[in-house]
Symmetry: C2
DNA sequence: TCTTCTAATATTGTTGACAATCGAATAAAA
DNA sequence: TTTTATTCGATTGTCAACAATATTAGAAGA
């Protein structure tokens, strides 16, 4: 059994975000306080505070007296997310390309292997999560915590957007080889090429969106139950 | 008298942020729950939730069992704030220069007048706030709410940074004429020039910083009392 | 006088009960 | 059958009391 030390609001927030990142929590899902209390074994106070954090990150929407539901970004919001990602990620890349070390490259390649393994094991949830985390890992190399945190928000929202408007459940969040090519360009110190690849990669994902919503669903206990696979 | 409808955590959060923006709340100031309850006439629940929001915006620091204090960004954090601002603001400018309308220019010029008036009236608090809001107004024209919200965070943090490391109390947050020149360039549709001015403007502010902290102070009741001058 | 320990005070953290509000189900009327 | 009211159950919002923790003040000893 997991330890019984009470989870903090940050923990609950992280768990919910994980579920969003792995697309086990569909946009529009109603989150009642009581159910989350039960799932995570915490009091309403903690859940309530977690809701506040999640709202600030645009992961849930809070309506007065009507509770919380997982956010459903509009097409316009989706556009803004990708616009922001391109700006931030290319900005970070400009720094990274100048400071990147061999150790960093090793770490990135290690991550690529993990992505590949997850895909081969047909562990789709894990793969979806890893492809998102690749971008965060890449961002971290630039050493700007503020932009990191902001990009994190954007990546989580991207997950919601892909869940809403993306291609069928088989469809990739990030097509397989793009990340490897990007690491290669980075390793070669070719900023212009790396930049092109990054922009193209993001545009590709955006281009695959079809703005006609759909609604999968899931049971909360199941969804949250198997969160910690890392 | 103002209406007695209870303020929400967002309201409290906004009031505190206003005070930070106008530099009436010094970095390091201890914020006890009870004092804020008294000042704003709300319960501890509301203050507590506001604290959570303020923490997420890096405006206060929360220590377990030790309460909240206004954040004191480190020199490294200051560097990251300016790096982020340059990235975001130049990115937004690239959009704005393509879509800006005469009405937008009018609005910006109106803001410049307000800045000038505040300066002439020696209403320094208001002037400091307006110079910060100029950047937010400019950003809003690009029509990306996510980047807007992020820049808002950065501007508030800039206020803390200037309070900590900036030139003496007479020193300007944004030197007077820079904003006007920027609007002129924008009005002329000269992207390259506008971009240069913006970058130079931000670099100027950063260059004026001296990383040797100082500590002004103030009474909470006074600080919050005269917040709403807009 | 200075240090160290203890007790008192003040502040924060948590819980549970109660109030307010919303949504659904039912019943009544057109 | 459809629409409108009303009641009931469920969910959220608020508050106050209590517990846990930290800070301060004071006393004792060197």
């Amino acid at each position: 059994m997991a330890n019984r030390a009470a989870l903090s609001e940050e923990d609950v927030c992280a768990r919910v975000r994980d579920s969003v990142l792995e697309q086990r929590l569909a946009p529009g899902t109603k989150l009642t306080e009581e159910s989350l209390c039960a799932v995570f074994g915490v009091g309403r106070t903690t859940v309530r505070r977690a809701f506040l954090l999640l709202k600030r990150d645009n992961i849930i929407e809070l309506q007065k007296n009507r509770g919380a539901m997982v956010a459903s970004p509009s097409p316009e919001e989706a556009r803004q997310v990708f616009e922001s990602r391109i700006l931030v990620e290319t900005g970070l890349l400009k720094t990274t390309i100048k400071t990147v070390t061999l150790i960093d490259i090793e770490q990135l390649r290690g991550h690529l292997l993990a992505e590949k393994a997850a895909l081969e094991n047909a562990d789709i949830a894990r793969w979806i999560r890893l492809t998102g985390e690749f971008h965060l890992l890449l961002a971290k190399l630039a050493g700007n915590k503020l932009l990191d945190a902001f990009l994190e928000q954007l990546v989580f929202q991207t997950s919601l957007i892909v869940a809403l408007y993306g291609p069928g459940s088989t469809g990739p969040n990030c097509s397989g080889d793009d990340h490897r090519q990007l690491v290669d360009a980075l390793s070669a110190g070719d900023h212009s090429h790396a930049n092109d690849l990054l922009v193209q990669h993001l545009h590709e994902i955006e281009a695959q969106l079809e703005f006609a919503p759909q609604q999968p669903f899931g049971d909360l206990q199941t969804i949250f139950g198997e969160a910690r696979t890392a």
